[in-house]
């Protein structure tokens, strides 16, 4: 594209706008596919298994280590102000409000998102989507929609598991290793964490992230060029776009939810 040619710029802008329009249409079709998915719960179940169960290992282990680190760092910092017992509250708030949804989303994008993109891209390359269309079955309904809704359901559950395991990791480090009083750990946490404000907003965030990551992954696979190179580029784009979107959305949601 020659940037000094208005015609080229115009063409580039128009094709970007067309791409955004196409993506929006796909999102609407995926949302409308809920009816179809509810009629075929077996498809949804298989996809939840593929996206959720297979991600449990990485989410669980990551949550544990993040909890360890939070407990450790939190202790060192709070101890200086004599508030070491607030570690529990600090770990819980950090996880529930931010790290739980965000880190889970980033890990999900890397593990499940790329798997989705590659799968859809390869199906496109092998003409499977075309064949399905020719058999009068809408591939968006049959293949994409179950994956979309499965991602939407699996993400909040994974984020909850991440946060829960993280808090226990913080407990292991804080109480078992560093000797903070267990009662104070949980007590301070309970008084500082509000179910609706902290946990509820965290759940809302993870639902939004689930939609974002799954949609980006499915979109990239759907519009990928049907060559090995095209699929490879699409998976890269999934991780990059999904991660950046999650971080940007996190900022916007945090500003909306936690403004004083």
């Amino acid at each position: 594209m020659r940037w000094w040619h208005p015609a080229d710029i115009g063409f580039a802008l128009r094709s970007k706008a067309a791409a955004v329009g196409q993506a929006t249409r796909l999102l609407l079709r995926l949302l409308a596919g809920l009816g179809y998915v509810l009629k075929r719960p077996g498809l949804l179940r298989d996809q939840i298994h593929f996206l959720g169960n297979y991600s449990l290992a990485i989410i669980g282990v990551s949550g544990l280590f993040v909890g360890f680190v939070l407990g450790l760092q939190g202790y060192y910092i709070l101890q200086r102000y004599g508030s070491a017992e607030a570690v529990g509250m600090m770990v819980a708030l950090t996880l529930l409000r931010e790290l739980g949804p965000v880190v889970t989303a980033l890990l999900f994008a890397g593990r499940a998102g790329t798997a989705l993109t590659a799968e859809i891209g390869l199906m496109k390359a092998g003409e499977q989507l075309s064949a399905m269309e020719m058999m009068a079955v809408d591939p968006v309904e049959r293949i994409l929609a179950p994956r979309f809704w499965a991602g939407l359901i699996a993400m909040p559950l994974l984020a909850a598991v991440f946060s829960a395991i993280g808090i226990m990791g913080g407990w292991i480090v804080g109480v078992l290793l560093l000797g903070i009083d267990g009662g104070a750990f949980w007590g301070q946490m309970q008084s500082g964490v509000d179910v609706f404000k902290d946990l509820g907003n965290g759940v809302i965030k993870s639902v939004v992230f689930g939609i974002t990551v799954t949609f980006v992954a499915l979109l990239q696979g759907f519009v990928a060029k049907p060559t090995p190179e095209g699929v490879s580029r699409a998976t890269t784009r999934t991780v990059v776009m999904a991660s950046l979107s999650v971080l940007a959305l996190d900022f916007m949601l945090t500003a909306m939810m936690f403004s004083i």
């Binding site: 199906m123 092998g126 003409e127 499977q128 075309s130 064949a131 399905m132 269309e133 020719m134 058999m135 009068a136 079955v137 809408d138 049959r142």
Partner: protein, 286 residues
Amino acid sequence: MMTMPDIAGFSMQSSASPPLVELRNVTFGYGDRTILRDVSLTIPRGKVTALMGASGGGKTTVLRLIGGQARAQAGQVLLDGQDVGAMSQAQLYAARRRMGMLFQFGALFTDMTVFENVAFPLREHTDLSEGLVRDIVLMKLQAVGLRGARDLMPSQISGGMARRVALARAMALDPEFIMYDEPFAGLDPISLGTSAQLIRELNDALGLTSIIVSHDLEETFKLADQVIILGPGVVAAQGTPDKVRASSDPLVHQFVHALPQGPVPFHVQGPSLDADFGVDALKGGR
């Protein structure tokens, strides 16, 4: 054979009836590349028609236009009298249930077994019990000789077998009209002969209409009742194999006799011989 409700209005009449598929003055292209320019052709009912031509000449495009996966920019694509381009989504899906399409490499669903692949259209479009579905699937697999492979995955069977499974799948709903995209490409002689025989037998035994897009001169000419040769954007020839073989059109002649030189040039456009090999320079030129 089951009788299907007449949703898309297909009628099973003798070969004296109007053609099943007709393209009238169809123009189609991508961006500034025109693939079909004012093309008109007819596909007669109950016969095997072959679509041939140089690579990129628009053969697969014609199939996609008929199947409604692409829309013509001008002209009409008539399926039993109805314009495919003007159909609503529901009408298009109803029409597609009456046709079968065989993709070049089979396009089997790689996450399902052979059995599940053939059962797919039945399970999606009918409410038949699993017992009935099983019987139909096994019958279709029997017709293509792959009943024993029913529990294998597509990655475990050869390319030729995959294509036969795809044929069984295309036949699952007993369509009245099948399109084959390069059914002979890359097959060994045995598979080739088997496939050709299958296409012929199915067409005659079930009263189907078949369109074959192919590059294989010998096999296709032996098989087809009618041959259409597409040149760059136009129909170069249309008629029985013998008539086409005897055509005096230079493009058709080059194609049918597999000549390297003719209207389709051997050399791709590029710099002249002199410029590349410097013959003029030897003579002390520029």
